[in-house]
């Protein structure tokens, strides 16, 4: 089967031609070190500054010096959480996050717990939303940081970021959001939404891998995690990844500019997909919020079928998806997100995440739905669990 359909855009995306064009000269023509004083260095610095400006425009930051480049979303999350918690540890040692965060946030919090911090992991409801009253109740006098992701990477639920930020600020707490999936899918305006820190990554928005950025509102202190040169205003040592940064700048510019048209396209694809799927397949549920959701990410549980087996059958048909369940990871437990949403394990285990890009046609969707129907029927035929009885 030669046909290949990539429906895993939430894990990574292809680098778009415009981004690639922006990056290519940085490899062999404009290859200076942005820290050098000579003309090559100044040109490189110019490229980095241009990218900074583009990101500033994209998220409506006040100053471009509020953007710090990192090696990706994980480092941006680590820098935000560890950096802020440590910098404000004299004020308090309590931070709040949610149970459905990415591991870049969860494991940074685990590290803080080892250092003597207390962390509250807020539960979510069955649609994946953090409850605002829960948040209010968990704020203490010694709370210094709240970190809640904007858009969940597994189920696509969008949090009430503006309200959460408002609550945080009412109590004088700093607010960080992991917006790695949200850039380009949600309108981000850090000034209007009162976001203090925001993480982003290039490769989720048709940029290159290995580069991301952290927005930090001026006036907020954070400790560095890397020790070395004085790049990024002494907050992130290491020679600037100029091609990557150029790519990130362009990718953010395109993603934020095209936000509404991309969303409209994705919504058409999503609606068509679910409509077709409902015609051809019985017994499945769509996980996540009914309307406060991403148009690109659809998480579906097929009853009586195991996710990995379904993934492999779809892969044999040239369709690339991922499982909501972490069965391929060493833990073998269903996804922590679906567990937090109180979805029973045997249903969570049959979940598949489809994440669409705008390059998918209706014919592709038809093909995908047909293949899903075939694969699900095949697996249900050999499953001891009857789908209709769950």
């Amino acid at each position: 089967m030669d046909r290949k359909i990539y429906l895993d855009n939430a894990s990574t995306t292809y680098v778009s031609q415009e981004v690639l064009n922006e990056m290519l000269p940085c490899f062999n023509v404009l290859y200076g070190n942005a820290g050098s004083i000579h003309s090559f260095g100044r040109t490189a610095m110019g490229i980095v500054d241009k990218a900074r400006d583009r990101i500033k425009e994209g998220i409506n930051a006040q100053k471009s010096t509020e953007i710090y480049f990192t090696s990706g979303g994980t480092e941006a999350d680590n820098l935000a959480i560890l950096g802020v918690a440590r910098a404000y540890s004299d004020k308090g040692k309590h931070i709040i996050t949610s149970q459905i965060e990415h591991h870049a946030v969860l494991n940074a919090c685990k590290q803080l717990e080892k250092e003597g911090f207390e962390v509250t992991y807020l539960p979510v409801d069955c649609s994946g939303l953090v409850s605002l009253p829960d948040l209010l109740h968990s704020i203490r006098k010694d709370t210094t940081l709240i970190s809640i992701m904007s858009l969940n990477n597994e189920v696509g639920t969008i949090q009430n970021i503006k309200s959460i930020a408002k609550i945080a600020h009412d109590y004088g707490v700093i607010f960080h959001t992991d917006a790695v999936q949200a850039i380009g899918q949600v309108k981000i305006d850090v000034q209007d939404m009162e976001i203090d820190l925001l993480s982003m990554s290039a490769h989720k928005i048709h940029g290159p891998k290995g580069v991301g950025a952290l927005y930090v509102k001026s006036g907020i202190k954070f400790d560095t995690l890397t020790y070395g040169g004085n790049q990024e205003r002494e907050k992130r040592a290491g020679t600037e990844n100029v091609p990557g940064i150029a790519g990130l700048g362009k990718a953010v510019e395109i993603a934020t500019k095209n936000y509404s048209i991309t969303n409209r396209k994705l919504k058409i694809i999503r609606d068509y997909f679910i409509e077709k799927l409902a015609e051809k397949v019985e017994y499945f549920q769509v996980n996540g919020h009914p309307y406060q959701k991403s148009n690109a990410i659809i998480n579906i549980s097929f009853y009586g079928v195991e996710g990995e087996a379904l993934l492999m059958l779809l892969d044999l048909a040239g369709i690339c998806v991922s499982t909501g369940s972490a069965c391929t990871s060493k833990s073998l437990l269903p996804s922590h997100v679906l567990r937090a949403m109180n979805i029973p394990d045997d249903i969570a285990q049959g979940s598949i995440r489809f994440s669409f890009g705008t390059n998918i046609s209706k014919a592709d969707v038809d093909y995908v739905v047909d293949e899903i129907a075939k694969a699900v029927a095949k697996l249900r035929a050999i499953s001891p669990i009857q789908a209709g009885r769950i």
Binding site: E306, E308, A309, L316, T328, Q349, A381, I382, S383, P384
Partner: protein, 135 residues
């Protein structure tokens, strides 16, 4: 590739998949940590030889293929021989399994035991029934 060619081929077309009419031994094992479930159907004749074996699995590729291979292994064997089959035998047939998937072959081994246990229970029940009718 994550799984080897043998596993992928068997996964695409499992030989022994499906239920069985007239099975006289049914074993079922559920793994707690991953919820995978395998049900093994055996038909055992009066000479204690396993005539045929089928399976149904709710689980990943490795679980499905392990169960399929187990059916191959037990066919034609006596009960005692079948009880000697270990997960290592299953892995030997399958080739290499990803490190975190070894429990799938263990599950296959456990289903054999569970099925044979079921067989003996059924025989006991029948014997009691016979006895009560004679009495």
């Amino acid at each position: 590739m994550y799984y080897n060619r043998f596993i992928m081929e068997r996964f695409k077309d499992p030989v022994n998949a499906g239920g069985m009419h007239g099975a006289n031994a049914v074993g079922e094992v559920v793994k707690d940590h991953c919820n995978d479930m395998t049900r093994l159907y055996l038909k055992i004749n009066d000479n204690n030889i396993i005539e045929s074996a089928r399976f149904k699995t709710f689980g990943c590729c490795a679980s499905i293929v392990s169960a399929d291979v187990t059916c191959d292994l037990v066919k034609g064997k006596t009960i005692d021989e079948a009880l000697q089959i270990t997960n290592e035998d299953v892995v030997r047939v399958m080739g290499e399994l990803p490190a975190n998937k070894e429990y799938c072959s263990v599950m296959a081994e456990e289903t054999i035991r569970s099925a044979i246990e079921d067989y003996y229970k059924r025989r006991e029940k029948e014997a009691k029934k016979k006895k009560s009718t004679i009495d």
